[in-house]
Symmetry: C2
Subunit: 404 residues, 2 copies
């Protein structure tokens, strides 16, 4: 049993849909049970969001979900028609028909359960099941969407629940690279990457797989094969770490230019102050990413954190209010920052990676504004104008263009 | 309780959607419980059909229905958003969520049952319920569509089941006219027309209401008010015949240029022959409309009938096969015919209408090729090139421009 997920660019027009249908039919004829998860065609979802904003100043969440789910309905029906032209039966299922039950949070619902009875019946009857990505039905029987990248999550959830051997994610790139090839032309496609590395990459700017789908794949140990629907060549396998193999020290360099930095200066260094700050942000649904607190000087400290640029305005409003309450001296921000990150499972057992990273950036004259680390990742916030220089320098210094 | 149905032109773009939302909010604020049925925006359904034909040589019925129902999903979600901008809560429902249960005939499903529990709950909670027209869920839990004009049927079915006082059908014309105003500029808007007259008009080329919705309205005695969403002026009421009022002899002239005529010549005039002919057509799903059989000469007769032009090719194929079997002398056809029809409930008690109709056509030099009548209708098949002349001459001769 194979789950194949096709993104928007893979089904952007009738020609692409027919090409994808052929590949599905080939996989089916090789003796596989095939479940297909499909996104909306090309820019359909963006177009529908624009339409909603044209019609309403504040599109209602339930209705926005109702609207957006029209996109996958179109692509999945067309894909089934194209498959049937080859004499293979195919049946499309909405998230609701596939039994993808979610919570009631419109716009970013979480999957609670995958029933999948109708999919199993369809496969048993020898047909291909085509499921709408990105959507489900809530416990109150309303249509929900899973947020950006939600189709990846649908695919992995189906693979986990139905026991597929592999979840193939077809996209417009041929796999996971050591860096963004648009920034680093020498970037190398990885044959294999661990779930944990992929998680760090997805969290720090790698756009190939959505973060939540990788969490799901890791938690249920679903092997994911990221590959191209344009060349059909083998791509990158995202799998469990294999302790018998030597890990590459560094698997890749990612970067992200979608965040902004907020700093609260001269905060009293006593218990409860940080909690008050971040509780206030959470209450306003501002997503905080990196948090750095400097050492305390004379009982005061500076706290910096990054937020998505879209949340900057709301974040500042909240912070100015809270800063007054906790008697901090001020709030400043920088919307022109970027993050560069090294990811590698081998980093754990190789000291000195951080030191080398800082030296490389220093040699390029790139100033580091914030640093944050995990056991398999080091992130630095730098000026956005420096980020491509930083990515290229790190890629070269760690020799990522060479197969490990 | 009011059901309001808005057709595709009424919700063709964001401006139109906002105008319709305002009208719904006004109706709601006047103290009505409002159920809205909405069609797909503008030409969306046609665009989706074109996409299906681009992708597949023979789009599968189940998948075509899945595809087409995306259209109403988009319009109803947008309409709800626009209503909520006015501070009135609105909730959209797919055919399935509204409990519109149909048979399993994809593309022209029949409504078997309307549950409507969620709609009742929504109305009781003080919100507007917006329901996707044209669609339902089959007894095998597949998405179905009701065929062209299906949104009218959805609206009338909901009005009947939920006990609405009126079903308002908003469209791009201001009501039902004595003839097509594009052909007869003096055509007059009717204030009132009976279900039976409306049925005959819908069956013979009047495009304002779909035939099945009128049957439904008649069977459940749901008053229908056909009116314009562009001017919002009072339109035409379609209601039960009122025996206390004097009926207009003629309510309108309709015409239809979508049919073709097939003739089987020299058919043996014995029992079972006609049955064999029309059984063969029915088996191929060819919709036969008018049937005329001439008097028998020397034990043989000619049988003519009309079919939709789209079915002409299939109809001829069937007929050529059957004609050989029943030893008829030949099959001929004419794709350039049209039908002109007089409709009027008062015709029943006014002899001489047919005679006058034939004289009028004769005076205009219009040759009559077939005649068919019911108690409140007379139809003549003429050459398509003559049909507008015929409509104008009849409208004038019966003085339909004058209020009765």
């Amino acid at each position: 049993m194979v789950v194949q997920k096709y993104g928007g660019t893979s089904v952007a027009d009738p020609d692409r849909i027919r090409a994808v249908a052929e590949h599905i039919v080939r996989t089916h004829r090789q003796g596989n049970q095939v479940i297909v998860v499909v996104s909306a065609m090309g820019k359909t979802t963006d177009d529908l969001v624009r339409l909603a904003n044209d019609v309403s100043q504040d599109p209602h969440g339930r209705e926005l979900d109702m609207l957006l789910t029209a996109g996958e309905r179109i692509s999945m029906a067309l894909l089934c028609m194209a498959i049937m032209d080859h004499g293979v039966h195919a049946v499309s299922f909405t998230g609701s028909q596939a039994g993808i039950v979610t919570d009631t949070v419109h716009g970013k619902a979480k999957i609670l359960e995958v029933k999948g009875d109708r999919i199993r019946e369809t496969l048993t009857a020898g047909a291909v099941a085509v499921v709408a990505g990105f959507q489900g039905i809530s416990t109150t029987r309303d249509i929900t969407t899973l947020g950006r990248g939600g189709s990846d999550t649908t695919a992995v959830a189906l693979a986990a629940t139905l026991g597929a051997e592999v979840c193939e994610i077809y996209t417009d790139v041929s796999g996971v690279f050591t860096a963004d090839p648009r920034v680093v032309p020498e970037a190398r496609k990885l044959a294999r990457v661990s779930f944990n590395e992929m998680l760090e990459m997805a969290a720090t700017g790698g756009k190939v797989l959505a973060l939540r789908s990788v969490e799901f794949a890791r938690n249920y140990n679903v092997p994911v094969h990221v590959r191209s629907s344009f060349t059909w060549e083998p791509g990158t396998w995202v799998v469990e770490e294999d302790p018998t193999m030597e890990e590459a020290i560094i698997s890749g360099v990612t970067h992200d230019t979608s965040e902004a930095k907020i700093t609260i200066t001269q905060v009293a260094d006593r218990p409860g102050v940080a909690a008050a700050l971040f509780r206030a942000l959470a209450d306003e649904s501002v997503n905080v990413d990196m948090i750095v607190q400097n050492v305390s000087t004379a009982g005061h400290t500076d706290i910096s954190f990054t937020v998505p640029r879209d949340d900057l305005h709301r974040g500042l409003t909240v912070m100015e209010k809270v800063a007054a309450e906790i008697e901090a001296s001020g709030v400043s921000y920088d919307a022109g920052v970027a993050r560069v990150t090294l990811v590698g499972a081998g980093m754990k057992t190789n000291p000195g990676v951080a030191a080398k990273m800082f030296e490389v950036l220093s040699n390029e004259g790139v100033n580091i504004e914030m640093i944050s680390t995990s056991s398999i990742r080091i992130s630095c916030v730098v000026q956005e104008s420096d980020v491509e220089t930083a990515v290229r320098a790190l890629h070269s210094a760690f020799e990522l263009e060479k197969a490990s």
